[in-house]
Symmetry: C2
Subunit: 695 residues, 2 copies
C-alpha cells in the first residue's frame, strides 16, 4: 500500500467543521461527498450538531468510533493546530486542509506549526488553502467544488483553487476527460513532486496535467518527472515579469525565473502548454492518443485554405511538414479527384466525402513513413459532419496501427456535435486547425522525450579538497566573493582551462612572473573590495616588456588606492594573455527551488542585448551541455559563420559539465559563478575572467 | 451610386447555369436566393428548362425582359467566355463567376479572355472560382454556401472558398456577427483593394475581416487600407515556407514574402490575426467595441490564477499591465474583502458576487487613467454566471463612457450561455483569459493605428536626370548590374553619403587619385563580370603610401585576370577608407505585388545569423524609417550598448528615406539595391559598398 493512499483513496472521511448552514463550505463538502456517490464512510464533525444531512455528526473527531483515513479540515485557520493535534491523536492518516489564512496571507508561522504537529503523528497534509480532491474512479468529491469533472484519464493538479473550480466546469463543456482533480494549495507538506510520484502509479491516470505558479522542492519535482512513465504537461503561470509578481502576491509562492523553469521542464520531460486552451487541448490529446514516434506528420484536408493554415501552424509548433514519399502520394491519389493534391498537405478537395476521408486516412496510417495524421474538415453543404467523423473513426480502427490522430472540424453546431462524438470515441477534436496541429505537436514532444536517452551524470576526477580549502579560507576571511586568482584556482581544480597566472606582490615579482609565463601578459588588481576592476583602472592588457609590466604594476596599485583608499590590496594578478577567439559566457545561479543551475550564452551583444542564454539544472553531462549550446539563437557563430573556422563546441560542453559538477558539489556554499568571458578557439578554450560568490 | 453597387447590392440577379438537378450548384444558388429572403428579382437561365423552383427560366440571358444587375455564372469554365459576351450584350453590370477551372488550374489564358470581354462591356467580375456573395442586410445568399451567416457588422472576405463555407457555419456557433461574407477567388478583376474600398463606404459594415493568401495590386491594397475609416483585420495564410508553397499550389496565388506582408499590414494599419481563432475573436471585438485609446489596461478578476495568466498574456500581446494609480486602487478596495488585491490585476477574490463586479467595473471605466478593461470570471458554486454578466453589462451602461471591455468566463455550460448573452448585448466574450486579452490587444493595435499620424512622403531634391543617364548607359551596355562606381554615383545623386572615390585606369592614375583623396585608401576591382570582388582578390584596404597603391593596382588587376580571363576590366576604384563604426545594411527588393520596398538591418551576425531585418513599402518618410530602425532586435547596438556612444540614427533614417525615393522613382528599372555595409558614426554615415541590379 502506498502511504498516500489514505489521502487520495480514503476508505473513510471526516469533515471537521461540517456545518448545517447550506451556504457554508463545511456544509458543501458533506453534500458533495454524498451526492458524488462516494462509497466510503463519511463522518461530519461539529461540536454543536448531532446530525447533518441525515448523517450522524460527532462533536469531536475523537468521538468517531471507527478508523478515519482522511480528514477534511474546514475550521477557521486559528483552530487548525488544535484540530490537527486531535486528528493525530485519533490516528487519522491524511489531512486536506481546506481552511485558508496561512502562508498565502503571511502566516507562515501558523502553517509551520500545523505541519510540525502532523509530522509528529506521521500525517500527510494536502494544503492548506485548497478546494479539495475530486476522484472519478472513487466517485468522490471531497471538495467544495460543485461536481465531479467529466470522466476520463487525466489527473489535473492546480495551484489555483478558483481556476480548479472553473476548469471543473469547463471539462464538461470541452469534454476533457478527468480522472482526478486536485487542488494543491500552499504545499505545506505534499507538493507537485509527491503528487506526480503518486499518480504515476495510479492505474486510472494516463496523463498528469499541471497548473503551476511555483514548485516547492524543485529537485524532487525534477527527479519524479524524469522517471515518469506517463506524460506530464504543465501550464506555467507567471512567465512575464508582472505575472510572476502577481503570482507571488496572491499565493505567496515564488514564481521563479522563467528560464530556469524552462530548463527544469525540458530536463524533466514535461510538455509545456502555452496557455489555458492549450492545457486543455493537449491534455486531451495526451490522454487519448499515443505519442508521435517520428517527425513525419501528414495533413489530410478537404480545404486548401485550412491546409495552408495548418501547414503554418506545423512550422510554428515545431513539427514542419515534409514531402511525402511517392508511393504514399500514389495511395492518396486514389481518394481524390484529378485536381486534388496528393502532396503534404493532402488536399482531397471540397468534393471529399466520407469514403475519401476514410480511405486516405486508413492508407496514410498504414504507411510506414507516416508517424501521425492531422485531419481537417471544412463543413460543406453536401456532407454531414457526423458521417465524416464516423469515417475517420473507422479508418483508425481499420488501420490496425497505433499512431496518433488529431482532428479539426471547422464549421457550426453540426461539426461541434460530430466532434464531441469523436472525443467520446477516443479521437481528440478541435475547432481550429492550429489547435489540432498544436495538440499533435504535444504528442510529438512527448514522443521526443521518450526517445531521448537518460543522461547519467558521471563525476569527473577533480580536486575537491583544494576547493574546500579555498572556500574555507574565504569564509574565514569573512568574505563572500573569491578573488580572481582564487576563482581561477577553483576552476583549475575542476579541470577547467584557465590561462597561466600568478599573484605578484611587487613590481619585481610581476616582472619575474611575466618572464616565467612569457609575453604578452595581462595584469589585474586583486582586492576583495574592488569588484569592477576596469572601472578602478585596475586592468592593463597586452603588456609586452619588463618595463611595461613594471609600469603597469605601479599604475594599477596607485589607481586602486585612488579608487578606494580603504581597499585591501592582495596584489596584482599577472596572467598569460589569451589570444583572440569567440567570446562565450558560462555561469551558474543557485536557484531557491531547483538548486544549482548552469547557464550558457555567447558574449557581448548576444547576452547584453539579445538575452540569448540558456539554463539547465546541475549537474549535467557534456552531452546535455552540447544540447544547450545548440539551442541558443547565435549557435551558428560557433559553427563557422562569416567565413570563420568552427569553434571547439566539445571543449565548451566539457567545461560546462565540469562547472555543473563544481556547483553541485558545493551547492551549500556557492551562490553564483560567472566565467565571463570564456574565449573559445578552434581547439580548446580559456576561462579568461571568473567570479565566484558564496552564499 | 457606387459602380460596384450592382455587384454587391444588386436589384436583380440572373443565375446563368441554373439547374433543375437538386445536387447541382446551379440549383443550390437558386434555392439559396429564394430561401434567404432576397427581395430583388431572380432570373434562372438554362437553355433546356422553362421553370426552376417555381421561377420562370430563360433560355438565354438575352431573353430576360428586364434589366439585370448581376449574373451568377455557374456554367463549366469553357462556356464562360460565350456567356460573358452575352451578359455584356444584355447590359449586365456585374458577374460573379462561381465556375472554376481558370488560373487556379493553369488556365490563365481563359481567365484573361473572360476579363477582356467583360472590360469591353464595362462589367466588373468577382472571381472566377468563388462561392459567391452573402449579405445579411439584403437577406441575399447569392452563393452555394448553405445559409446566411450570423447577423452582425463584420464584412468577411475570404480567398478560400471551402474556408468561407466552414466559417459561415462557425459564425453561428461562435456568435460572430457578419454583415457580408464574400468569396474573392482568383481576383481576375475585383481584388482585396477594390472590396475594402467599397465596404469602407458600406453603412452595414463596422469592420473588414480578411483571409488572405496573396493580394493582387499590392499598391492599391496598401492605399485603400491606409485610408480606411474602419478597422481592417487580416489572417495571412502561408507565412511558413511550406505554407506559402501549399497556398501557391492550391490557388495559383503567390503568397509572397512574409516580411513584406508584415510591412504592408503595418503601413496599411491592418491588424494581424495570428490564426483562425484569433481572426474570429478579434473580428468580434473590433465589430462590437471601440478602440483602446491609450496603454492603460486594467484586469478585474475573481481568481488569482486566471489573473496571472491574463497578465502573462498582456505582456505577450503587447499591452503589458502597469501599476494602477492610488486613487483607482482606493476605488477598487470598496468592492473586495480585505484580503483582495486592488493592484493590477484587481483580484476581487473568489467571494466576488455580481455587486462587486458591477461596482469595480463601473468605477474602473469611469476613472480617467483606465483605457480598457478585461474582466475575468471563474465559475464558482455560489454565483450564477448569468447574474455576473448582467452586472458587467450594467456597469458598462452606467459608466457612461466609451471604453473597450472584453470578458472571459472560465467555466462550463452556464458560463457559455451567459457569454452568449453578453455577445448579444454587444460585449465580446471568450472562453479563455488569454483570448480576452488578445482581443483587447487588437483593439489597442487599432487604437495605436488611429493615433499614428499619416506620413506624407515629400520628395527630396535630387539629381534624377543623372540617375536616368547612368541607367540608360548600363542598359545600352547590355548589363543588368551597375558597377560599384556607377552605384555610388546613383547614391550620391540622391544625396546618400558615399566615400570620396574615383576610377583609376592605371597605377599612376591610382596614385594621383589617392593623393587627391588623402591616405589611407581602399582599392577595388571594377568589372561587370566580377561580382564577388573579395573572392577574386580584387579588394585591398588600408593602403597608406603611393608605393602601396601602385603595388595594389598591379596585384588587383593581375588577380582579376587570373580569376576570370574573359572579364572586362573597367579599372580599379580608389576610395577614401571609411573609419571604423557600426555596420548596417540598407537595401531594396522590387516586390511583385507591392513594388519597391526598403529594408534595414544591422550588419554581420545580425543579418547573417539572426535574420534581424525589417521592411517597408517605398517610399517612406525619414520618420517612418526611424520606426523601422527602432523595431529591430539589435536596436540597442545603435543607442550605445557596451559603453559606446549612440550612433546617428537620424542619418540612417534620412539615407533610408532617400533610398526609398530612388527605388520608387526608378521602380520600372531597379530590381534590387544593396548598400552593405553602411558604416554609421556618432555623426553621419558612409555607404561603403553598394550594388544596384536592374530588372
Amino acid at each position: 500500500m502506498n502511504p498516500l493512499d489514505p489521502v487520495f483513496k480514503p476508505k473513510s472521511i471526516a469533515i471537521v467543521g461540517a456545518s448545517r448552514d447550506p451556504k457554508a463550505i463545511g456544509h458543501q463538502c458533506v453534500i458533495n461527498l454524498l451526492q458524488s456517490g462516494y462509497e466510503g464512510k463519511i463522518y461530519p464533525v461539529n461540536p454543536k450538531a448531532d446530525e447533518i444531512e441525515g448523517l450522524k455528526c460527532y462533536h469531536s473527531i475523537l468521538d468517531i468510533p471507527d478508523e478515519v483515513d482522511l480528514a477534511l479540515i474546514v475550521v477557521p485557520a486559528k483552530y487548525v493546530p488544535a484540530v490537527t493535534e486531535q486528528c493525530g491523536q485519533k490516528g487519522v492518516k491524511g489531512l486536506v486542509i481546506i481552511a485558508s489564512g496561512f502562508s498565502e496571507v503571511g502566516r507562515e508561522d501558523l502553517e509551520k506549526e500545523v505541519v510540525e504537529i502532523a509530522r509528529k503523528y506521521g500525517m500527510r497534509i494536502l494544503g492548506p488553502n485548497v478546494v479539495g480532491i475530486m476522484s472519478n474512479p472513487l466517485k468522490m468529491n471531497a471538495s467544495f467544488g460543485p461536481y465531479l469533472p467529466y470522466p476520463g484519464k487525466a489527473t489535473l493538479i492546480s495551484q489555483s483553487g478558483a481556476l480548479l473550480i472553473a476548469m471543473d466546469a469547463r471539462t464538461w463543456s470541452d469534454k476533457v476527460g478527468i480522472s482526478h482533480m486536485i487542488s494543491i494549495g500552499n504545499m505545506a507538506d505534499l507538493n507537485f513532486g509527491d503528487l506526480i510520484e503518486y499518480f504515476n502509479e495510479d492505474e486510472e491516470t494516463a496523463v498528469i496535467s499541471l497548473y503551476v505558479e511555483g514548485v516547492k522542492n524543485g529537485r524532487k519535482f525534477l527527479e519524479v518527472c524524469k522517471k515518469s512513465k506517463k506524460p506530464i504537461i504543465a501550464l506555467k503561470a507567471g512567465v512575464s515579469q508582472r505575472g510572476a509578481a502577481a503570482a507571488a502576491s496572491h499565493t505567496g509562492s515564488l514564481a521563479g525565473s522563467v528560464k530556469i523553469y524552462d530548463a527544469a521542464f525540458k530536463q524533466g520531460h514535461v510538455v509545456k502548454a502555452e496557455n489555458l486552451d492549450a492545457l486543455f487541448d493537449e491534455t486531451m490529446a495526451l490522454a487519448l492518443q499515443p505519442p508521435m514516434e517520428g517527425e513525419n506528420l501528414l495533413i489530410i484536408t478537404n480545404g486548401g485554405g485550412v491546409g495552408v493554415l495548418a501547414t503554418d501552424a506545423a512550422e510554428k509548433y515545431g513539427i514542419p511538414l515534409k514531402d511525402a514519399p511517392e508511393d504514399l502520394k500514389d495511395l492518396m491519389r486514389k481518394h481524390m479527384p484529378e485536381f486534388g493534391s496528393p502532396k503534404n498537405p493532402v488536399d482531397l478537395t471540397g468534393m471529399a466525402d466520407r469514403d475519401w476521408y476514410e480511405g486516405s486516412i486508413r492508407d496514410a496510417l498504414k504507411h510506414p513513413w507516416v508517424h501521425g495524421v492531422v485531419v481537417l474538415y471544412c463543413e460543406t453543404s453536401f456532407t454531414d459532419p457526423q458521417n465524416i467523423v464516423e469515417g475517420i473513426y473507422k479508418a483508425i480502427q481499420d488501420s490496425g496501427v497505433n499512431k496518433p490522430v488529431t482532428v479539426s472540424l471547422v464549421g457550426g453546431e453540426k461539426s461541434v456535435k460530430a466532434g464531441e462524438w469523436l472525443i467520446e470515441h477516443g479521437v481528440p477534436y478541435y475547432k481550429s486547425p492550429s489547435a489540432a496541429v498544436r495538440a499533435m505537436a504535444a504528442l510529438r514532444e512527448y514522443g521526443r522525450f521518450k526517445e531521448e536517452k537518460i543522461h547519467e551524470f558521471k563525476p569527473y576526477e577533480v580536486d575537491k579538497q583544494k576547493v574546500s580549502e579555498i572556500i574555507e579560507k574565504v569564509k574565514a576571511d569573512g568574505r563572500k566573493a573569491l578573488t580572481e586568482p582564487e576563482a581561477k584556482e577553483v576552476f583549475a581544480a575542476y579541470g577547467l582551462p584557465v590561462p597561466k597566472g600568478k599573484l605578484a606582490k611587487s613590481a619585481d615579482e610581476a616582472v619575474q612572473i611575466a618572464n616565467e609565463i612569457g609575453f604578452p601578459v595581462v595584469m589585474k588588481i586583486v582586492s576583495p573590495q574592488i569588484i569592477h576592476k576596469s572601472d578602478a583602472g585596475g586592468v592593463k592588457v597586452n603588456l609586452n616588456s619588463e618595463e611595461d609590466v613594471r609600469k603597469a604594476f605601479e599604475e594599477i596599485v596607485s589607481n586602486a588606492k585612488k579608487y578606494d583608499p580603504d581597499a585591501h590590496i592582495h596584489g596584482v594578478y599577472v596572467q598569460e594573455m589569451a589570444p583572440w577567439g569567440t567570446e562565450t559566457i558560462i555561469g551558474s545561479i543557485n536557484d531557491m527551488q531547483f538548486g544549482p543551475t548552469v547557464m550558457f550564452g555567447l558574449g557581448g551583444i548576444f547576452v547584453e542585448i539579445l538575452k540569448d542564454v540558456t539554463f539547465r539544472i546541475a549537474p549535467i553531462t557534456a552531452e546535455e551541455a552540447k544540447g544547450m549550446i545548440q539551442e541558443i539563437k547565435g549557435y551558428k557563430v560557433l559553427t563557422g559563420a562569416r567565413g570563420e573556422k568552427p569553434k571547439d563546441v566539445d571543449a565548451i560542453a566539457d567545461a560546462m559539465s565540469r562547472l555543473s559538477q563544481l556547483v553541485w558539489d558545493f551547492r551549500d556554499h556557492i551562490k553564483e559563478v560567472d566565467a565571463n568571458p570564456v574565449i573559445v578557439y578552434e581547439k580548446g578554450l580559456s576561462v579568461v575572467d571568473a567570479r565566484i560568490i558564496l552564499k
